[in-house]
């Protein structure tokens, strides 16, 4: 295989490039990794600059014609707010043609031919985009009253799923010599909705073909779909309640005919814990499972399980994956121990996740989050946004360029403060790695309008109550 072909595969199909070995992904010699990253970055930039209008505009405004070294791309990283830079009224008033035009500026996919004039809700809009294009938009939780839309396509989701699979053999095949592990599947206990369009509810859909192999291995505690309209309304209800403006909240009339669906969602929320205790545990007891969730979701399940007298319920080689930070809550000291005791494992795998990127960056045995090799991280000065040198360790705002995306621009400036090292980690992995403490700048600043993520679950319940009440 020629060097050029190699590089192409590194960005286009990382799982194949690394022979389906997570060990290989994390142990590329530093020089080689730097070369792979830079050449792929250069290729992505030249492929995408004239095909993504927003990138084209930024490149011409900043006069950037080419990328000689990674830091050259920093002026072209998108602020995370780019993905919510549409006027709120477009969403509130069902102006989906304009929203589609807005989204069209962020992707290479051809959206202008899609007729969305008859769409009257977020769900129907995303349904239409999915049925007529390769686009599989992911949106944010919406808890702040606005919703970000990231135009990921089936290609990126597939590569993400394949690459994610490699990492799940980290304990059973630590040196990654076992190839694809064909026919080996995981029983996923999924604590949320089976489907939806938020980053997290997209997960089962992504995992199914590559990690589960069959619907029967997906044990969703909430079997239905999470409505994006309900999620959006949840954020708005939350914000309106905080401002004492709940009475003025307008509800999309199109939602009125969907009362049954929202009642089903409401029911599934209430039933998920009992379902887990009564059905999932009985079915999977003693077997190897994989469970994934934010700390508070895992902790609540474990606590409920222990209260029912259940302990060490699953096989000891089960996998527990978590990420997503404290979520604005005080994390109990014993949460991890509680989860381990309930499931019956001796560790929990922590990850640094960012819904906008295609990698789930795992923590090593030295407590450092390692970026997957197709993610090029930057540490930016939190005040002026300029990049710090790509050596040593720095604390600042995390920027990344994700080299997998080929239909949208993978460059992003996050809202996170990270302490990132470009030096080799004592665990032996060669990728850049971040310290355990990661904070959101908006949390650090406080702010009266802030609503935390954990409230999301509460808010969602409140929104569904509000909706079903209003529609009664």
């Amino acid at each position: 295989m020629s060097v050029v072909a190699d590089t192409l595969q590194f960005g286009d199909a990382p799982a194949e490039y690394f022979g389906h070995s997570w060990y290989a992904m994390q142990h590329v010699p530093a020089d080689e990794l730097a070369w792979l990253q830079l050449s792929t970055l250069q290729r992505r930039f030249s492929e995408l600059r004239d095909r993504i209008p927003t990138l084209q505009r930024m490149a011409s405004e900043s006069g950037i014609e080419s990328i000689a070294e990674p830091n050259d791309v920093v002026p072209l990283l998108f602020q995370h707010s780019v993905y919510k830079s549409y006027p709120a009224s477009l969403l509130l008033r069902n102006r989906f043609s304009e929203l589609t035009r807005w989204l069209d500026r962020l992707t290479t996919l051809e959206l202008s031919a899609v007729d969305v004039t008859d769409c009257d809700s977020i769900d129907s809009w995303l349904d239409r985009l999915e049925s007529e294009t390769e686009l599989r938009v992911l949106h944010s939780s919406g808890t702040t009253g606005t919703m970000s839309f990231v135009p990921r396509s089936t290609r990126e989701w597939d590569e993400m799923g394949k690459a994610f699979r490699c990492g799940l053999f980290q304990y059973s095949d630590p040196l990654g010599t076992g190839g694809r592990h064909d026919g080996e599947w995981f029983e996923l206990i999924w604590p949320l909705w089976r489907s939806g369009r938020s980053a997290i509810t997209r997960f089962p859909g992504m995992a199914l073909p590559y990690l589960l192999g069959s619907e029967s291995r997906l044990h969703a505690l909430r079997p239905g779909r999470m409505s994006s309209d309900a999620a959006y309304l949840a954020g708005r209800v939350n914000v309106a309640a905080a401002r004492g403006e709940l009475d003025e909240l307008e509800i999309n009339p199109a939602l009125r005919v969907r009362r049954e669906e929202f009642e089903r969602e409401q029911r599934e929320m209430a039933e998920s814990l009992p379902r887990f205790i009564d059905e999932t545990v009985r079915e999977l007891q003693g077997r190897r499972i994989w469970m994934l969730g934010t700390w508070n979701v895992l902790y609540n399940i474990a606590k409920a399980g222990l209260e029912h007298g259940l302990e060490n319920v699953f096989a000891s080689d089960s996998l527990v994956t978590t990420g997503g930070g404290a979520k604005g809550q005080v994390v109990p000291d014993d949460w991890e121990e509680t989860v381990q005791r309930f499931i019956g494992v001796d560790h929990v795998q922590h990850c640094y996740v960012m819904s906008e990127i295609t990698a789930i960056n795992k923590m090593c045995e030295h407590g450092r989050y390692h970026f997957e090799p197709w993610i090029v991280p930057f540490v930016l000065d939190p005040e002026d946004g300029s990049p710090y040198p790509r050596e040593g360790q720095h604390t600042g705002r995390c920027g990344v360029i994700d080299l997998v995306p080929s239909t949208y621009w993978g460059g992003l400036i996050s809202g996170d403060e990270v302490t990132l090292s470009f030096e080799q980690c004592s665990c032996g992995r060669t990728t850049a790695h971040a310290a355990r403490t990661i904070e959101r700048y908006s949390d650090k600043q406080g702010g009266d309008d802030k609503i935390t993520c954990v409230a999301a679950e509460e808010a969602h319940r409140a929104a569904l109550e509000f909706l079903t009440g209003e529609l009664a």
Binding site: T54, R57, M58, F78, Q79, H80, S81, V82, Y83, K84, S85, Y86, P87, A88, S89, E98, R101, W102, R105, L106, G145, T146, P382, E383, D384, G385, R397, I413, G415, Y441, S442, Q445, G446, G447, D448, D449
Partner: protein, 498 residues
């Protein structure tokens, strides 16, 4: 930035006495600098005026003596010859949200604030000098004679640090109302109130006005201190300025006998009529005035303009006009004099991220400036403000095109303090409507950041609330029918029967 000075010690000023021992460290805002102040616990016994009869000395002062005292204080507050203010200015670099030229300009306004005409106007327009001076008699319809007098009260002022003038104004209000003040200084301005108090100590250490002022710092929300201070036996009123957090901290202590005068967090807006586009000269004038409302004091005040509604219409011609106006306002922002507006000391990176995000949507937003923290004008291309309009700061305005000025009312509520309006005639039609939505002050465009302190504030009259309105009624049974008489018990019908 000047070299970091030695660590600041901010003593407490307690009734004419300076306390500078038992020092403990406190962090400034945003972790920039810290300072040393006396341990608040140690001040707990000294700060409150536990014996209310000790206000008697203020009660007997003639009003004119108060005016003379403040006038003399004003002269002593001339920056060029006041070492305390000079020190406060030097340290403001480390503590203030304002830049040095703005702090200097604010200090230079202090003497005028204390001038006798200004003090008399403030006293007379708010409470009325006769009521502050003596018992004011009035004969009531039922024949009784009432005498009403405005008494001082023991008050804690939790002041805001976004403008040094707030410290000066609080001291004047305390003096004219013959009250006893404990000023809790903010961490972003630990020195201005203290500098004025120390000047008072230099000038007239034993004067009752000096002896009824304390200035101290404690961390807002420090319950171990506040629970003891905020007792009706110590304090009758709390005047709380500013941030949501500071007002919420104080709310927990409010109880019968302890009144809260809340000067809540506010935002302000602007409404511009289509007359702004009648000629190039008019548009230039409107741009300068709007830039002034946005940029004055670096937009740190609640009185500053943020969202600017422009009734130019939302058709392409209208949008084109609003975009031109936006560009002109952005140009004018940079021409404002240094004493009025500078590049912001700190430009919120989260806001910058949000502004940069809008650049991805040229169909919906036009952004002028904002590349490196110098200020920006965002012009919405639809009739709605940006999602983050509540966080506009650092000289950032959001122009919103509307078809009819009345539409602006939609976005106004109790948080809307000031609305700058152009032209004058439009103000007349808006002033009967906007207050129903919560608006508290309408003002000619360009004057939003130039209020008169003698007028009502935040839809209340704070100085009238700072005094206690005491009544002495004289009733003579010959003129005012007594309750014990049969006549007062009988109904009219019974009387007629008899």
């Amino acid at each position: 930035m000047v070299e970091t000075l030695t660590e600041l010690t901010a003593p407490a000023f307690v009734r004419g006495e300076l306390i500078a021992d038992d020092l403990v460290g406190f962090g400034g805002r945003a972790g920039t600098a810290s300072f040393l102040s006396p341990d608040p616990q140690r001040l707990l016994t000294a700060v409150p005026l536990r014996d209310p009869s000790r206000l008697r000395d203020l009660q007997t002062l003639p009003f004119e003596e108060i005016v003379t005292y403040l006038e003399a204080l004003g002269h002593a507050l001339e920056l060029a010859r006041n070492a305390h203010l000079q020190e406060a200015l030097a340290f403001s670099e480390q503590f203030s949200d304002m830049t040095a030229p703005l702090v200097r300009a604010s200090f230079e306004q202090l003497p005028a604030l204390f001038a006798s005409e200004a003090v008399r106007e403030l006293a007379d327009a708010t409470v009325g000098i006769p009521y502050l001076e003596d018992w004011v008699p009035r004969t009531m319809a039922d024949g009784r004679t009432a005498r009403v007098r405005a008494f001082g009260a023991r008050t804690v002022h939790v002041i805001a640090g976004n403008s040094p003038l707030i410290a000066g104004l609080s001291i004047i209000r305390n003096a004219i109302t013959r009250s006893d003040a404990v000023i809790k200084t903010p961490s972003n301005d630990p020195l201005t109130a203290l500098a004025i108090a120390r000047t008072m100590g230099d000038l007239a250490p034993d004067h009752p006005i000096t002896r009824h002022l304390s200035v101290a710092y404690w961390k807002g929300g420090d319950t171990s201190f506040e629970e003891h201070l905020y007792q009706p036996a110590n304090v009758e009123k709390i005047v709380a300025w500013g941030g949501f957090a500071s007002v919420t901290h104080v709310l927990r202590y409010v109880q019968p006998g302890l009144e809260l005068i809340s000067l809540d967090p506010k935002r302000s807006a602007t409404v511009i009529g289509q007359e702004a586009f009648s000629s190039p000269e008019t548009m230039a004038d409107v741009a300068l005035r709007t830039a002034t409302d946005v940029g004055a004091l670096n937009q740190l005040g609640c009185i500053n303009a943020r969202v600017v509604y422009v009734a130019a219409g939302t058709d392409p011609d209208g949008l084109e006009r609003v975009n031109r106006l936006g560009e002109a306002i952005y140009d004018q922002l940079h021409r404002l004099p240094q004493r009025l507006s500078t590049r912001a000391k700190w430009f919120d990176p989260e806001l910058k991220a949000d502004i940069d995000g809008l650049r991805a949507s040229p169909d919906f937003y036009r952004v002028f400036g904002g590349a490196d923290g110098e200020g920006a004008v965002i012009v919405s291309q639809l009739a709605e403000p940006v999602e983050f309009h509540r966080r506009l700061s650092g000289r950032v305005a959001n122009l919103v095109p509307i078809a009819d000025p009345a539409e602006a009312a939609r976005e106004m509520n109790a948080y809307t303090q000031t609305v700058g309006v152009y032209p004058e005639a439009l103000k007349e039609s808006l002033r009967d409507v906007l207050p129903l939505h919560g608006v508290q002050r309408l003002v000619s465009l360009g004057y939003a950041a130039h209020p008169s302190v003698a007028l009502p504030q935040d839809a209340i009259e704070p100085v009238r609330r700072m005094v206690k309105w005491i009544v002495d009624e004289s009733c003579d049974p010959d003129t005012t029918t007594p309750l014990w008489s049969e006549a007062s018990n009988d109904t009219q019908a019974q009387k007629e029967e008899r």
